[in-house]
Symmetry: C2
Amino acid sequence: MSTDPLVVFTPSGKRGRFPVGTPILTAARQLGVDLDSVCGGRGICSKCQITPSYGEFPKHGVTVADDALSEWNKVEERYKSKRGLIDGRRLGCQATVQGDVVIDVPPESQVHKQVVRKRAEARDIVMNPSTKLYYVEVAEPDMHDPSGDLERLVGAIEADWGIKNIHADLHILQDLQPVLRKGAWKVTVAIHLGDDENAPRIMHIWPGYYEGAVYGLAVDLGSTTIAAHLCDLTSGEVVASSGIMNPQIRFGEDLMSRVSYGMMNTGGAGEMTAAVREGMNALFTQIATEAEIDKGLIVDAVFVCNPVMHHLLLGIDPFELGQAPFALATSNALRLRADDLDLNIHPSARIYLLPCIAGHVGADAAAVALSEAPDKSDDLVLVVDVGTNAEILLGNRDKVLACSSPTGPAFEGAQISAGQRAAPGAIERVEIDPVTKEPRFRIIGVDLWSDEDGFEAAAAGTGITGICGSGIIEAIAEMRLAGLLDASGLIGSAAQTGSDLCVPDGRTQAYVLHDGTAIGGPKITVTNPDIRAIQMAKAALYSGARLLMDKFGVDQVDRVVLAGAFGAHISSKHAMVLGMIPDAPLDKVTSAGNAAGTGARIALLNRDARGEIEETVRRIHKVETAIEPRFQEHFVNASAIPNSADPFPILNGIVDLPNVSFNTGGDSEGGGRRRRRRA
Amino acid sequence: MSTDPLVVFTPSGKRGRFPVGTPILTAARQLGVDLDSVCGGRGICSKCQITPSYGEFPKHGVTVADDALSEWNKVEERYKSKRGLIDGRRLGCQATVQGDVVIDVPPESQVHKQVVRKRAEARDIVMNPSTKLYYVEVAEPDMHDPSGDLERLVGAIEADWGIKNIHADLHILQDLQPVLRKGAWKVTVAIHLGDDENAPRIMHIWPGYYEGAVYGLAVDLGSTTIAAHLCDLTSGEVVASSGIMNPQIRFGEDLMSRVSYGMMNTGGAGEMTAAVREGMNALFTQIATEAEIDKGLIVDAVFVCNPVMHHLLLGIDPFELGQAPFALATSNALRLRADDLDLNIHPSARIYLLPCIAGHVGADAAAVALSEAPDKSDDLVLVVDVGTNAEILLGNRDKVLACSSPTGPAFEGAQISAGQRAAPGAIERVEIDPVTKEPRFRIIGVDLWSDEDGFEAAAAGTGITGICGSGIIEAIAEMRLAGLLDASGLIGSAAQTGSDLCVPDGRTQAYVLHDGTAIGGPKITVTNPDIRAIQMAKAALYSGARLLMDKFGVDQVDRVVLAGAFGAHISSKHAMVLGMIPDAPLDKVTSAGNAAGTGARIALLNRDARGEIEETVRRIHKVETAIEPRFQEHFVNASAIPNSADPFPILNGIVDLPNVSFNTGGDSEGGGRRRRRRA
């Protein structure tokens, strides 16, 4: 007796012997090779494309003859002529084994394909969405053996795809009979595969083979902005991204003023809930329009947000979050339906909210933890997500600590005299010549520096309208490096600094970054109160990080990840000159961009990631800054530029911090507030 | 070492030894004795009342000393003085074991108490509702170990009550924080215990110990009437019952005219869905008002209905049910939320719809099967539920067959010249003197016969308005027994019958049951077209039953159960004289009352019964009358009174059927239509 042919799959390396005539798709399924199929091998969907290789493969111990697979057949020919097929590709359900063969499964034919993240240090996302498409052929009704159309559909899905205990939402039942008949008992269904709370459910049904996609939303619900990515749940591709201002801003800029609004106004929390849900619906309409898809195809959505937004989204009065002990109504992840939140997407779309870590450390921090995975890091990583509150994570494989620090809105341009949100026209980068003390800057929307040719023409469109969070950080750090500012945060006078850009501003000084009055624009200065606001914010941020380091028992971290839109725009050098973050090698300070949004996207695209982050959050040790005496102590010591609390040996090797003091009292290191850091 | 005291529980007979000082409740729990407790042994709820017995118990081998239990304590004293306690009763959580003791658990202290059904042959209902109350004390929030209020509540429930994987609906989260604080971290929760589709869920939460009940609805959604029982989910007691006309009647009296309405009118099915849901909401308001409870305390509802009503309730166009192969959209049981059906009861009340058996045999028939349990019967039982359609079950432990037969609305008084629905004023019982041919009758709402003293005065309130389904059956059977009617269904003339109550009516005759014109009321006659309508209906009913007997391979059944309001009102003798049901000993023909409604109540009060009836329905063999040639054959032979298809030997021993013939052709057994029944 001859031996059955050997089939070797790459890149998995899985191999097995199969009888002559076995379809490649069947061989792949039996070996557990990740080869996609929506139609179950009926030659309709073409998701099972594979590439056979011919010739000698010493590595696999195989020689593949030209006739190792069955001949190109009519189904393949029809598919190729209609839709096109890359040369050398075959359909795995049509090509059968005739001899030893090596089969490559290209990435696009893998169910669990990887979605590549742009950052070198970030892991790719493995596709494993909660909702998938399946094509089935359903038995027709039979009066001799009566059964419901749904039951025969469910039976077909179970037989073909092995999914058990499937249920259907009511709207599916309402559509089922005409759709089955329109499709001549052949239909495509979208199935939510279930979780520990819900059995698998049919979400949608199309007559015949449905060639389109279903979509999911990864939503980062911030206090100020709501950003959403619309993702194709098969490819993982982001098909559209969009954002709007959080309409709750009219009830209060910062979270605590919104909590107060709820306390002071009967029904106030309800108003804010309605506002944010309406805003979200507007955003979803906008993003679906942009992507040119039907909103009804959005079957899954993941939300990340801070605890106050979390509660307001859910319709829970955030009253308790405004006072000790900052009790969350619920901290676990939540699985809801779109209609629970009045969201106008698919009528039974599933909503997943990541777990909250603590009363001040929300689902957004959990999403950052999912994206940046400090719990999987070999080295000790400090992850800082700067918003109105800073969420801070510190940890490695052994342990992860988390806290939140009340930075306030200064980093977002609020409470700054010329401050504004990051928008076209805002100064976002600043350099000050240490000799001439002259500034140059860049504004959002223009690629040129302000001293380069063509800048004025390029800036004419937006004007130079103010300074955003990253701009004020750079301005202050540059002022310090140029000797215009002492460590206590005082701006020197023109006489002290030798720069007539230092001008009196009430009883203190200001530095003129841009005198726009000549061109009809605003005059943009950095004032001592601006610096004071930033000092408070950065001290809060720094103190939170230091507190976690104390709790961890370390004086230094191996690397720092700056998350959030703000983190993406500030330079690590300037952040360290300012003393925002603990001292670390500059090349070990990276930006993760919108890590919370990325975490939402991971949870959207990979259902297993949901269980993983829930488990991780249970293991994260929460530190409440409000009741830690060390936090206050660090805070007091951290207002200097850089912090008197920290020696910054690494930074000192890179930059030269002028030893100046503009305080009339003459203390160069932070006025009378400075205390010695504990050994 | 001495042996621990012996504790014997009655009526269970469970026994075990427990250390001195063990509370009786603890001993009961360890032995699995069914002793209720809502507060978990805190001396609050008093649900764990037990009765100790003292003295010699040779049967149990125990002598109980006077000090076998700890002394009456303050908690018991306080409870007794506040709420009262039957003499001799103790609280199981307070009384502790001191010596050998015999403890009786009274029925009201059992969780799985039995609700007694009034009929001798029906089994009691064992209480095991889907939603139960639990009292818990919740840990307060702790900033050092942050967790959500919900998670601490869930943890407390799991620790005290052993219920795992509990979730909460969104509205619970919205109420949770104020309720926990109002109750000083002590709360009572109503928990839906989950099923194969849903994890356990908190349905409602009250501050402190909640002394009230939660409620469920057993709803029998008929084509003509909607009836509901409101039940206390702890005691099982029916606290109110009410019914309304199905508001869909305006779209068509019978089911097929409603199906047609949906086909002929765009949005017609949706209109009917809205109408029935509105009607149900009105009914629920009415029943809650009557019971003086808050509708929001109705947390569970079970619906039984025929397939067309099932689909219309769910918002599914019943189009397919109007034509072969009569495909149901779904046949399995359904678990929904009240808001899925726009029902204004508790916002997350659970809805359970019993499974449908086939396209013509609905959840109402399944409910009858649950109530009458032919699958658990040793003898062969025929269960007939008469409505616009008759649902028929035939079976025993070995096998159950089911079919539906299109009787039409004649049995409900429709299509009858003087017919009306069963309502005060309608003739419901009829007797005709075989000698004088004079009738006497009773009307609904009056206990006297029409020839008794005081009848006229008693009937003055309603008048004598018409004849209802049971009345027309009795009238026709009595006419046959009195020789006014021949076997073919023809009424004799005054000359032929010797009764001047037989009057000409067009080309045929009519019999004057009541000449009300003298008192200003209608004249109530039974006409030949009336008899023809009843003949058609009863032939359909009989033929369905005979078809199932053929399929079962029997010529006789052991007993007959008449279900439905109609079945409750007709006498079995008259039904058999008419030839509605196969021949059976009269004492073996019983009425089950509203068995569908009882089935709904069983499914409401006992969650395990839901799985049981789902399994039973899977095993029931469905017979489709529309495609069975034998059905037509039986139908043709069954229009005579009694049927020419059936010899009725038992009936013939009881009544004397006059051998008369009023047909001009002279055939005494059904005109030219009669065919010989197959051997």
